[in-house]
Amino acid sequence: MNEATTSAAAPVARLIDEFHKLPGIGPKSAQRLTYHLLRIPPEDALALAQAIIELKERTVLCSVCQNVTEDDPCAICRDDSRDRSMICVIEEPLDILAVERTRAFHGLYHVLHGVISPMDGIGPDDLKVNELLARLRGGAVHEVIMATNPNLEGEATSMYISRLLTPLGVRVTRLARGLPMGSDLEYADDVTLSRALENRQDV
């Protein structure tokens, strides 16, 4: 508890502390949000509180893809029009939204809920890896696309999973790394540029 909260009324101080625990919220923002909530109509504040309660009470992880959902299985896993032979493996539920926005992928997803990072005490057993293996046992899946982030931990995770899947006879691919569309070659950073060269294609 810092100086700003010790002099405030106890409920105010408590909410400031709760906000401060959230990612990206510093002490100043925590105070601003708290005093903002003090000023809004009670029904708006209750609506926010209710939304938070429902978030915890009315969501579960989809038993198929591990995405956060209200109904199990989730809407994507229930959708018969989706291609069940392809699974796109991602780190976090938010990544589904990113891929869905492209409208370029019509298969199913699998959410790992993290990446391998020994420094943070996270190993393969802490991720939804066994759930992925279980999904492949039926033999209906022909391709798994690894869409983890292109950093050390994302690649460690992708590599670990690829090695588990390859003996199962599933095709394992990963996202190509290249230049963002609409970007200027001159301003591309050279890691991206050299990756794009590695992943070059015939025209």
Partner: protein
């Protein structure tokens, strides 16, 4: 190259400071703790992205900013070069096989380059200020690895004797700071290697405690071998060049002659032979892989051998909970007349050896990049006697030398007359 302009905002004890600088000798004179060293530190940060003076980046932010909504410090520097020495064109992308070449930052080879570093602070959950660095090169936001080396610099400090008699970590830092400025692929491998070592060591401890399987090490072993081999290979290559430059610099500083000189300088040359300064690379790999073999082997083959070694010694690493081989445990050996310089040399010889190492660093940067680095001399001249000081000044081959000193009057008149002189007091520098 020379620093044409240096600007500081909220950096350490400077609020707003602009310094238009001249090529040649620039003297910053003033009492201690007034901010002379901060100016050299700022220039060195722009070149290397590093400072050895602070525990965290938040230290760069002036106290006046601590309660600001967005506390920050900013340093910007513009270097100019005469263009004559621009030997290598680095604007080429890595070749199609994906191999990054050893060229300095792309598109950074104009006549003028401006590097800007902003250190942005924010309060952590525990209420203390934590900071992160953001770089711009010629006005465009870039990652650190693309900006480091756009300005090159060598920093001489009174702690440099630690290079000779201190721990191996200081000697590895010496190699890293130098090579990072002239070899972007080295810097990138170093950044990756550092992360891999942290992750692998954490995993070794988890395996030791039964929280992870040894098989999980495979990916980290491969990454370590790949990045580690690049570091081994480039260090081995550089130290050969560096050793030759350091030996010559030591002889010049001590005796005013080149090793192997004859005729009139024969007596001096004799002393040079008795006091030869030799620098050798000691890679922490395996007995079968001394520096010469590493230097003569392709990085891919070194990586394959390192991977085998990591696999063979895995049980030992697990037991120790740390990675026992690899460039993070490298060292440099230094001898004077065949004896270890750390234990047998006098203080004066050690000081000369340290200066020789810095001069060799400047030489290597010049040979590799085609441009003379900025030389930053932080208080090092005041501790030398008149004759060594003269030798040092005669040995400096640079377009610009920035020198701090607490005692300007001890410089002879001719030296001061040829220099641009600044007086530094209370976080302000003014032309004298």
């Amino acid at each position: 190259m020379y620093l044409r302009r240096l600007e500081l905002a909220h950096f350490r004890n400077y609020e707003q400071q602009e310094l238009p600088l001249a090529p040649g000798r620039v003297l910053f004179l003033g009492e201690n703790a007034q901010g002379k060293t901060n100016l050299l530190e700022a220039a060195f940060l722009l070149a290397s992205g590093r400072s050895d003076r602070s525990a965290g980046d938040a230290d760069f932010i002036a106290w006046s900013q601590r309660d600001a909504a967005l506390p920050f410090a900013r340093v910007a520097g513009t270097v100019a070069s005469d263009g004559m020495a621009t030997a290598t064109s680095a604007a080429l992308p890595p070749d199609a096989s994906g191999r990054e070449d050893a060229a300095p930052p792309a598109a950074a080879r104009g006549v003028e380059r401006t590097v800007e570093l902003t250190v942005v602070g924010r309060a952590s959950a525990r209420g203390e200020l934590v900071a992160s660095k953001r770089f711009k090169l010629n006005g465009v936001a870039r990652r650190a690895s693309e900006v480091i080396g756009a300005i090159t610099a060598v920093l001489f400090t009174t702690d440099d004797m630690d290079l000779v008699k201190g721990s191996p970590a200081g000697r590895r830092r010496y190699l890293d700071v130098m090579l990072s400025q002239i070899d972007r692929a080295y810097l990138r491998a170093l950044q990756r290697y550092t992360k891999v070592i942290s992750q692998r060591n954490a995993l070794l401890r988890r395996v030791q405690e039964g929280d992870a399987r040894a098989g999980e090490l495979t990916y980290w072993d491969e990454q370590l071998a790949d990045a580690g081999a690049r570091l081994f290979s480039r260090r081995a290559e550089a130290v050969v060049q560096l050793a030759a430059a350091a030996e010559g610099a030591y002889a010049r500083l001590s005796f005013g002659v080149e090793p192997g000189a004859a005729g009139a300088a024969a007596d001096a040359a004799c002393s040079v032979r008795d006091e030869r300064f030799l620098l050798t690379y000691l890679p922490r790999f395996a007995d079968a892989w001394p520096a010469e073999r590493i230097a003569a082997t392709a990085a891919e083959a070194i990586a394959a051998a390192l991977l085998t070694r990591l696999t063979d010694t895995r049980a030992r690493d697990v037991a120790a909970g740390v990675t026992l081989v690899g460039p993070h445990r490298d060292d440099l050996a230094m001898t004077l007349g065949g004896e270890p310089a750390a234990t047998f040399a006098s203080r004066g010889q050690q000081r000369t050896a340290a200066l020789a190492l810095r001069l060799a660093e400047a030489r290597l940067i010049f040979e590799r990049s085609g441009e003379r680095p900025l030389l930053l001399l932080d208080d090092v001249l005041s501790e030398l006697d008149a004759s060594r000081r003269a030798h040092v000044l005669a040995s400096l081959d640079a377009d610009q030398v920035l020198i701090t000193s607490a005692d300007g009057d001890r410089f002879d008149a001719a030296f001061v007359a040829g220099a641009q002189v600044w007086r530094v007091a209370g976080g302000t520098a003014a032309r004298a």
